[in-house]
């Protein structure tokens, strides 16, 4: 058995372990450890396991992950999402499907702070779903708006998945954040368009009876000042070159804490809950990053990416065909795997193939995040769907699946646009840096 075939077989074994309910970090670490023992010897495997674990957990660049998570947790604890939603519903009042659009807009804004799709979907379910039910929106449509809006959290910067992608691909986080901003905003508008079309075609909402004045709308918009401050301090600070991503994340967490306390919406026990959730999530994420690094180390040694490139060259496949195949693989995997695991398992294999065919790694990162987003709302596994169902168990899953269908069009359109116009992702980073 050649080493490349061994690499390919290890991917199969990995999926076997994942479906046998092994935690993602453990499956990755086991394949990495055992693979390195087979390829080299126990001493080499020990050297890789020991140094990888310590290096990853003490990497200054990765301290950005817990800090952005903490900012999101504090914002969640401070119920910032509730303010965003109530402001958005007043600003958009009078529009058919206004509550759905407000949910998507508030999700996009909250995602810009939390960096987490699941957190956004979970909080929006609690806040927006009861309001949409009161307005007689259909459950499928309401839940689908929340699920789709929630996915914006991982594309609009700061995005934890992009930070992890940057660590694997050795790319600058500020450049990745710059690359994801325009596609993120574009996706938000595409979701809004889908929502409006659905509302107009009568499968959605009633026309709101509230008609606030222009002054009331401006006043409502101004209530989002806390969000504006956090966004300006963090993402604005990074884009302007004032802060490094780590500094922006730390200051963003601190600002969220100060704003929460000043506003009386955060107390000490709330802060402790945020720290607790952040610590646990950080450990869970770093364990995956450590396991994936061991796995990636093994995969690189097997030269599996080289085998794949050689195979595509032998078959004389065009770059576009190769990318289409990669995206299809992601879409299929996305139906069964969760996002971070998918990125960490596949990027070491697919990134060299994509760059080998001349695609920009920055652009590829954005494509990967969008397909991961699709995975979050694609049946049967779509994490956001389950998060919503867990909090609103009376919503029929079939109804939810039917509702989500039209929203899947938006990210697919965005992927097509990114293929046609790669500058959507590449223009801003080239302009700023």
């Amino acid at each position: 058995m050649t080493t490349a075939v061994m690499g390919l077989a290890s991917v199969g074994v990995l999926f076997g372990l994942l479906f046998a309910r092994l935690p993602v970090w453990l499956a990755l670490a086991l394949i990495g450890i055992v693979g390195n023992i087979i390829l080299s010897n126990v001493t080499v495997a020990q050297f890789i396991a020991g140094s990888t674990t310590f290096d990853m957990a003490s990497k200054y660049g990765l301290s950005v992950i817990p800090m952005f998570i903490l900012m999101g947790e504090i914002a969640t604890e401070s119920r910032l999402s509730a303010t965003l939603f109530s402001s958005a519903r007043i600003v958009l009042s009078g529009l058919r499907g206004a509550l759905s659009v407000a949910t998507i807009a508030a999700s996009g804004a909250f995602g810009a702070i939390s960096g987490s799709s699941v957190a956004t979907a979970a909080t929006m379910t609690r806040i927006a779903l009861p309001e949409m039910r009161k307005a007689n929106y259909k459950d499928g449509y309401s839940a689908a708006s929340i699920a789709a809006g929630g996915t914006l959290g991982i594309l609009i910067p700061p995005s934890i998945i992009l930070i992890i992608y940057g660590a694997i691909a050795e790319l600058s986080v500020p450049r990745l954040f710059a690359a994801s901003l325009i596609p993120g905003i574009l996706l938000l508008f595409l979701y809004v368009a889908v929502s409006l079309v659905l509302a107009g075609s009568n499968s959605g909402s009633q026309l709101s009876s509230d008609h606030p004045s222009f002054a009331e709308r401006v006043k409502a918009a101004l209530k989002m000042w806390q969000f504006a401050i956090l966004f300006l301090v963090t993402i604005g600070g990074i884009y302007a070159g004032v802060f490094s991503p780590n500094e922006a994340a730390g200051i963003g967490s601190f600002a969220a804490m100060v704003l929460g306390f000043a506003d009386g919406r955060l107390n000490v026990s709330g802060l402790l809950r945020s720290l607790r959730a952040t610590a646990i999530t950080t450990a869970a994420l770093f364990m995956i990053v450590i396991g994936a690094t061991m796995f990636a180390n093994f995969v690189v040694q097997t030269r599996l990416p080289n085998l794949l490139i050689a195979a595509t060259e032998t078959l004389s496949l065009a770059p576009l065909t190769v990318m289409t195949i990669i995206i299809l693989v992601y879409l299929i995997l996305g139906c069964f795997l969760e996002g971070i695991g998918m990125v960490l398992i596949t990027v070491p294999v697919f990134l060299p193939v994509a760059t080998g065919f001349g695609y920009d790694p920055l652009w590829f990162g954005i494509i990967v995040v969008i397909v991961v987003e699709l995975g979050l709302i694609t049946p049967p596994v779509g994490m956001n769907i389950f998060i919503i169902q867990a909090q609103a168990p009376d919503i029929n899953l079939v109804q939810l699946y039917k509702g989500i269908g039209p929203f899947l069009i938006a990210p697919i359109i965005l992927i097509i646009l990114l293929f046609l116009f790669p500058q959507i992702a590449l223009w801003l980073p080239d302009k700023i840096y």
């Binding site: 309910r21 092994l22 020991g50 200054y60 990765l62 992950i65 998570i69 969640t76 069964f336 695991g341």
Partner: protein, 170 residues
């Protein structure tokens, strides 16, 4: 068995408290460093090292809580397809393999930790021996190991509402 589980849970809770303190310290270090740099042009000496050490503490000391509370990311499709006894067996098997993997990683970390001690490796800014950070990491890792062992002897699946919803990166 339940006394052992309770004792392990207490230790893991204390470890988690340490990790939470490290996260808070990391945030404050960054804020003070940036403030001092921009306002007084005098950055905090060793801020870089402190952040890295806090990260080590935050990761290793919360590992136990993540494992013990089943907060690791798992593909649980099999739960709907297989019998309960099989799912329980798979959970125990995962806990056993988790303990084995952590023991291997722990043993693997001993050699570089000892080399760091023998060669007198130092943190550049804090002038602190690096072996201390290795030792802190190894002690923290014991929490993960204890949690895995506790899950083997008496698995306790977390309730859904106990799960942290935010910042999972998705």
């Amino acid at each position: 068995m339940s006394k052992l589980r309770t004792a392990i849970d207490l230790i893991i809770k204390a470890y988690l408290g340490v990790a939470m303190a490290a996260l808070f310290a990391m945030m404050m270090t960054i804020v003070v460093d940036v403030f001092m740099r921009y306002v007084f042009n005098a950055p905090v000496v060793g801020a870089f090292d402190i952040v890295e050490i806090c990260l080590v503490v935050a990761v290793f000391y919360s590992m136990g809580a993540a494992i013990s509370g089943f907060h690791e990311i798992v593909i649980d499709l099999v739960d709907q397809l297989a019998a309960k006894w099989l799912v329980d067996a798979l959970i125990r098997l995962a806990a056993l393999l988790s303990a084995a993997a952590l023991v291997f990683i722990f043993m693997s970390m001993l050699t570089p930790a000892m080399q760091s001690y023998q060669y007198g490796e130092m943190r550049l800014e804090l002038k602190m021996p690096v072996w201390i950070v290795w030792a802190v990491a190894l002690v923290g890792m014991c929490g993960g190991l204890m949690a895995s062992i506790a899950n083997v002897i008496s698995p306790r699946v977390a309730h859904h509402d106990e799960l942290p919803v935010g910042g999972d990166g998705q």
